[in-house]
């Protein structure tokens, strides 16, 4: 990142800071990267526990769990939250606001409504077209169009955005600290003929059942095969559905730490991502690539585009366990092919390194602040605040 004038940047995270999630990780890494490069950063986020927060995070209040897009989202809205958002903006004296997921009902949307000046929005989610969006669209439109620049984390997220809100976006992928993964050490207990799977395996969309079905075919051809599953969840439920003869091939590790994650991915012979949908980016594939693991993934749009349509990892038809089994057997039996695939992936995976990603994001920031204007409360909000006798601009 070129050393230019340090900026004062406000980041808004819509989801509860304490809960694990892709958006939270992205905001945290970005904030820490920007701070490390001399910029002043304040993150506004809903939080449960105000004590344990890093210095740069400001709490907007306690998150409220609501059902959203078939899952539970921990978001925050309401008049008190709105007042906090306005106060944060008025006191922040920011050069730029970077709002994450501004199209969901949380504080990013509130900030976009309340602020005026240079604003960048990042859209993470990819979803199918929904009827509800016809009702929400006209409300969101005038808010979202205040953003100077829209970023989508993947082609899938970009397509969702143009379908739902008829607006285009620049694609900048999510970042990972690639060197951590490139420096993983292979551990003997995870090496051999091993297939790895990572994630909350109880969620059907993670597709563990597809892998379990494929295992019965794979075991016939590669008897010494082992499946190692990392991630939180109820292991009994999974084992119940597995052929009793194959149960001893499956082991569970529970949730892994960052360091263990790199070692785990490096040790594996194959990493399998059988997700059946609902995935917008697939950060785990970027991490597996950096670790040098050969990948087999379902051909859902996010994965197909991340793996260069098969150049950096093998793809199989979504939910087709027979095809998955063939892809696994093929790669297990052909070490040269596997090695070539892993190397191609590791090389390509460098585009997800934070150094590259943050530089792209920062170049977008510079494009948004060309006018030299600062972030302030929008004129319609200023009068509203004055009318209520609350002075947000101390």
């Amino acid at each position: 990142m070129p050393n230019l004038k340090p900026l004062k940047i406000g980041l808004v995270c819509p989801y509860g800071w304490d809960a694990p999630g892709g958006v939270q990780n992205h905001v945290r890494d970005l904030a820490e990267y920007l701070i490390a490069h001399g910029h002043k950063v304040s993150v506004l986020a809903p939080t449960l526990d105000e004590e344990a927060l890093p210095e740069y995070v400001v709490s907007a209040g306690k998150p409220i769990p609501i059902p959203w897009n078939g899952a539970v989202a921990r978001v925050l809205f309401g008049p008190i939250a709105f007042a906090r958002v306005r106060q944060w903006i008025a006191q922040g004296d920011f050069d730029l606001l970077h709002l994450h997921e501004p199209a969901i009902p949380s504080i990013s949307l509130l900030a976009c409504w309340a602020a005026e000046g240079p604003m960048v929005g990042t859209f993470h989610a990819a979803a199918k077209k929904q009827k509800a969006i016809y009702a929400i669209g006209p409300i969101l439109e005038p808010v979202i169009e205040k953003l100077n620049v829209r970023i989508a984390v993947s082609e899938a997220a970009r397509a969702t955005l143009s379908e739902h809100l008829e607006t285009d976006a620049i694609v900048i992928p999510n970042g990972i600290y690639g060197s951590n993964f490139r420096n993983g050490t292979a551990q003997p207990q995870w090496s051999g003929q091993t297939i790895g799977f990572m994630g909350r395996f109880e969620e059907p969309r993670k597709g563990l059942s597809v892998l379990v079905d494929a295992l019965s075919i794979v075991a016939r051809f590669v008897p010494e095969i082992r499946v190692i599953i990392a991630g939180p969840g109820d292991t009994e439920e999974v084992l119940k559905k597995v052929d009793p003869q194959l149960r001893d091939r499956i082991s569970f590790l529970g949730r892994l730490h960052e360091k263990e994650k790199a070692d785990f991915l490096t040790s594996l012979t194959l990493y399998v991502a059988p997700n059946t949908g609902g995935e917008s980016f697939g950060i785990i594939l970027a991490e597996a690539m950096a670790s040098g693991a050969a990948i087999v993934a379902s051909d859902i749009p996010a994965f197909a585009s991340l793996l260069g349509d098969g150049k950096y990892g093998a793809l199989f038809a979504n939910e087709d366990s027979t095809q998955l089994a063939h892809a696994i057997i093929d790669l297990l039996r052909d070490p040269a092919k596997r090695k070539a695939l892993a190397l191609a992936g590791q090389e390509h995976g460098k585009i997800f390194d934070w150094d590259t990603v943050a530089e792209q994001i920062f170049s977008v920031y510079q494009m948004a602040i060309v006018g030299g204007q600062k972030v302030g409360l929008a004129s319609d909000n200023r009068s509203w605040t004055r009318l209520l006798g609350r002075d947000g601009q101390k």
Partner: protein, 167 residues
Amino acid sequence: MKSGLTFGILLLTSLWYLSFSATRLDRLHHRVETSWANLDGLLQRRAAVALEIAHSELIDPASSLILTAAAYQARDANMRDRSQAESSLSGALMLLQNEMSDETRSADAALLKELSDLTQKIRVGVSIHVDAVTRTRAVRKKLIFKLFRLAGTAPLPITYEFEDDAL
């Protein structure tokens, strides 16, 4: 009495909506200005780099002539002819890069690196600007904006056509 109140509320709401819409359009115009200022700055820098390459004596006089002409044209073009002129400059730069020998490439690596960085940024700049223009034009087409002349005297933003593959 009751109808008077309803009328009052209706009037207030429509007044608020009109003022809201006017602010909204004003912001959009501002967004177009910012995105154009950004793109314009990037394009000017590219023309400057192109001239520098043209004068660097690493290329033959004929290419230098073509490049100089294209760079000047791009710099002097008015708003309407700008995209055309910039596209010719892109074409000239691309020709040059394809023909350059490997030695020249390494001799002038810094300039070429700057050029490719700029090209990357221009690509982003164009898409940001195009989105701002399209949005503004779409909003200005809506009935309420036309009916109440909410755009005032602001000129309709010009669509900037940049051939993507020429970059």
